[in-house]
Subunit: 303 residues, 2 copies
């Protein structure tokens, strides 16, 4: 099948490498967890393609973690045309999408996604991002996290980090609460270029995927023995409810998945295992919870 464009970076090669990244992540994260393994759920999409959803539940560290790989294709529906402005009859999309909810409230929730999109014969682009949602903001951890992302970005293009960091602040924003989902990270979309640049962009995207593991493993290991209380867990449940609000009200990936009749359990694996809504909850003055809330603002320079 010809794409109408000449490139060594065929979509099959991209999907293959994304699948490998999924496997690397599952292997090293279950090693860090030390107790539970990922269970694989391979699925088929009736309109074309499918995926492999890997979920770990009730681990020693991770209460719920999902690492989803998918490669889907087929006709562009009217709903997709309207919602995403896709001017094509066919599409191809492959990606890895991750959300991890640790049990210990001192270990942050993390999300990572890398994706490739193609309108065959017309255009292609990459997208992705990583963002960290601490229940309790730790400034050293935030600095470390952003520094890791900056290092990955800088090795490809020094303009990437400031640009993609701002994009994450704008994207991971819970507007009705006037707060960010967490301390941000990087986010980018529609990253494209000439055919000769495709491999470089692809390498950057894979670099983002591979930054995830070492960074999150380090964060887990630095906090895994931190003692927590019932009160810490309640605050975690409240922060998780904000995560739910973001994903169901604003997240474009969730919307795209549900609008394209994607596999519901794979899309909603991002939901926290437990969440709580308390009416008009306000943290105590001077508390760590209040400090965290005050940090959840856009355009905070963590480095």
């Amino acid at each position: 099948m010809g794409l109408g464009i000449h490139s060594n970076m065929q979509k099959e090669v991209i999907a293959h490498e994304f699948k490998r990244i999924q496997e690397e992540i599952c292997e090293s994260i279950s090693e860090v967890d030390g107790k539970a393994l990922f269970v694989s759920d391979a699925w088929h999409r009736s309109d074309g393609g499918g995926g492999d959803t890997r979920v770990l539940q009730n681990g020693a560290i991770l209460e719920k973690a999902g690492v989803n790989f998918s490669a889907v294709f087929g006709p562009v529906s009217d709903k997709m045309k309207q919602a995403f402005g896709l001017d094509s009859t066919e599409f191809y999309a492959t990606g890895v999408s991750i959300v991890m909810h640790p049990e210990n409230p001192f270990i942050p929730i993390i999300h990572m996604n890398i994706r490739y999109f193609e309108l065959p014969g017309k255009k292609w682009w990459f997208g992705g991002g990583i963002d960290l949602s601490p229940i309790y903001v730790d400034e050293n951890e935030a600095k470390y996290f952003h520094q890791q992302l900056k290092t990955t970005c800088d090795s490809f293009n020094v303009e990437y980090y400031p640009k993609f960091k701002k994009w994450a602040d704008d994207y991971f924003y819970i507007s009705h609460r006037n707060e960010t989902r967490g301390i941000g990270g990087i986010f980018f979309d529609k990253l494209t270029g000439a055919e000769t640049e495709k491999e470089l962009i692809f390498n950057f995207v894979c670099g983002v995927g591979r930054t995830f593991c070492k960074t999150y493993s380090h964060i887990i290991n630095s906090k895994r023995n931190t003692v927590f209380t019932k009160e810490n867990q309640i605050w975690q449940s409240i922060r998780r409810s904000r995560y739910v609000e973001f994903n169901l009200l604003y997240d474009k990936g969730t919307k795209f998945g549900l609008d394209t009749n994607g596999r519901v359990e794979s899309i909603l694996m991002s939901m926290p295992p437990k969440a709580e809504w308390h009416y008009d909850y306000k943290p105590l003055a001077g508390s760590e919870e209040e400090f965290t809330l005050a940090c959840l603002k856009k355009e905070k320079a963590w480095i």
Copy 2:
């Protein structure tokens, strides 16, 4: 301020009666609960109007219950024009909105809403509905509930119940799960007519509001002593997560509230106190949970 239309049913009279219905409900529901009282939170909307949100938490029966009254007005924003097709510069809206989450998984979640909307000098309409979301479907209870609604409807118009029952089936539908939120009830919108019919429609809407109390009190009292297990509570948390999905993904009232910069805590008081998401949860064959899921289908005749 002239409305440009002649009617005894001024919006102030409607708002006043809605406020009274809120008070009646809070009084009788806290009596049924027997332990906790509603706490009142009066609020002001910067663009015009305000409300009184009453919330009861950690009662003997009700883990979380909200009874919200509001009367808001002001300019129609561009966002409202786009999202709701309002062809006017000014609007007025008043209503009572209720969601109750009992602690005992054998007592269903309930929702009720009555509302009046006016584009001053142009048109007016009423809307409303009641629906029941049992964690465990009890066919006798479902029959009783629908019969109460039918009786209220029939005393005004025999066409109302079948029409509004179907509307509820279509409205309270979680399309990505292919299941209804609960056993439905009634739902109606844009109920309008000649000025001479306004009082009759208003009386019907108040009748719906007043059907809520006696019906839900009866349901609570028939189930309040039913013993439940940890497993029943887990299933309750899963059903509550579906309630969250509906409210954040599909509910027009929630969307309208957030889009019009409504008071977030009053809009999201409908969220359950606790919810759980388990990856790919499937009830055991032959279980009560499986029976409930099988009942959550559209167009089931409960009477």
